[in-house]
Amino acid sequence: MINTKDLHEGGIIRDPGNATTYKTGDWRTFVPQFIEENCIQCMFCWIYCPDTAIELDTSGDKPKVTGIIMDHCKGCGICAHECPPAKKGKSALVMVREEK
């Protein structure tokens, strides 16, 4: 946390993209659980996530969902809602109550 004397005047932000350093993950009650074996890599979760909470591995030819970034996931459940039950009726993302 920055003190008053070190802040930019008027609360302006001079370093673009710094939202990634702002941890908002502690807002949630429910948390998505990623079940990799059910994932068909459709990327719906990544498209629909209103934050940047879907973790991708972009090192290969195609991006691959590898999990959830818990620092930013607010537990809205949109990813689980959009996740298609493509593996014998099973989804790769399900919401569970988070134990704190």
């Binding site: 946390m1 008053t4 802040l7 008027g10």
Partner: protein, 391 residues
């Protein structure tokens, strides 16, 4: 510095003061009695005397919003309004100060509705006294012009960066032709200087985010920084005024002290009413009554330490408030002055006067001084009094 003696209305004088800063943008909506000021400015632009981009908006809320956007883009920006127009700007008036944008504004003081009234009182600016702007008050067209020129230097100073409003009384100053000395354009611009913006929304090499969500973790720190800017402002107001005094021969401070040296009875007042008070004080001085006046020029930030010092040891003080604070303890000026005088054994009384442009005449000042003499010799007087109204 040789200056031209001209005859202008207060509105015209302030239009010249703002033009001399060569502002990039002006955003305004017409409202009586400010309209004439922007008429004059539009004439400058139409005649090619000014290159200011005029944004003619559909309301004052938009005027202040456009001013905020323009200032955040790095442009020297001003606006002007009165009364209900200022009230409609409300939300964005706070935003301008919070974002630390050095916008200048002419606030031609007019009563707030209702019932609807177009004449002078200070209820418009007083409603905005906690919004974080610097408030300068003027006694006549000369002071309105001088405050207009100085407002740029104060607002844009690196230690301040706060929007600044130049208050002058609707009709009494705004529409009355008055003689004043005006700086030549070049000299005024040399004094004001070229605008140096701190950042620009249009600078894609150095992108900034202006006005982001500011919650429980940082809002308080940003407000603390705003409070610190307000605390630094008086020193800058004085320094700019001193420099202006050297240039023009017209010296300003937080207030004007009129026959105060040995004054036992003091009237504290803002704006054009000061002229009326001076005449009556002169009459009483001839009779040997030690009366004086303190005309506050800088109402925000409120110069409390200065007020406490200058009023120390007086026998009686009357504050004249040209606005009421409904449900409050007296008018806004009284509340501040009495609070500044805390711990001192000086009786401070309030007079609410001149609402909705009610004429403030010589007999009213005489009443105040008579009552102060009574207080000074141990007599009683209500804390809060009304002046010039039929009960």
């Amino acid at each position: 510095m040789e200056q031209k003696l001209v005859a202008l209305s207060g509105n015209e004088a302030v239009a010249y003061a703002f033009k001399q800063a060569r502002p990039h943008v002006a955003a305004a909506f017409p409202i009586t009695p400010q309209t004439e000021m922007m008429h004059k400015y539009a004439e400058f632009v139409a005649n090619g005397e000014s290159t200011t981009e005029m944004i003619l908006v559909e309301s004052e809320h938009s005027a202040m919003s456009a001013a905020v956007g323009s200032a955040a883009a790095g442009a020297r920006t001003f606006t002007a309004t009165s009364s209900a127009g200022f009230a409609l700007m409300w939300e964005i008036v706070y935003v301008a100060a919070s974002l630390r944008l050095p916008i200048c504004m002419a606030l031609v003081n007019r009563a707030l509705s209702g019932n609807i009234n177009i004449h002078c009182d200070h209820s418009d600016s007083m409603g905005g006294r906690d919004a974080g702007w610097i408030h300068l008050f003027s006694e006549n067209a000369q002071e309105a012009y001088d405050n207009g020129v100085m407002s740029w230097r104060i607002a844009e100073h690196g230690d301040v960066r706060l929007p600044t409003m130049v208050n002058y009384d609707g009709f009494i100053i705004s529409h009355t032709a008055d003689a004043l000395h005006m700086l030549p354009d070049e000299a005024a611009y040399d004094f004001i200087g070229k605008y140096q913006h701190k950042y620009s929304l249009l600078d894609v090499e150095n992108p900034v985010t202006v006005g982001p969500l500011d919650l429980t973790d940082y809002y308080f720190e940003h407000k603390t920084s705003q409070l610190a800017a307000c605390a630094r402002a008086p020193e800058i107001v004085q320094a700019v005024s001193d420099e202006y005094g050297e240039l023009t021969g017209r010296h300003y401070s937080f207030a004007e002290e009129y026959k105060l040296d040995d004054a036992e009875m003091v009237i504290v007042v803002l704006g054009s009413s000061a002229g009326t008070c001076k005449d009556v004080i002169d009459e009483y001085r001839e009779k040997g009554v030690k009366a004086g006046m303190l005309k506050i020029r800088m109402f925000r930030p409120f110069p409390n330490a200065y007020i406490a010092k200058i009023l120390a040891g007086r026998k009686a003080v009357a504050v004249l408030d040209r606005s009421a604070s409904f449900g409050g303890f007296g008018g806004p000026v009284f509340t501040e002055v009495r609070s500044a005088m805390y711990g001192q054994n000086v009786p401070v009384h309030d007079y609410i006067y001149g609402l909705g442009g009610r004429d403030f005449d010589l007999s009213q000042v005489a009443t105040v001084i008579d009552n102060l003499q009574n207080v000074a010799s141990g007599g009683e007087l209500e804390d809060v009094n009304l002046l010039g109204v039929r009960l």
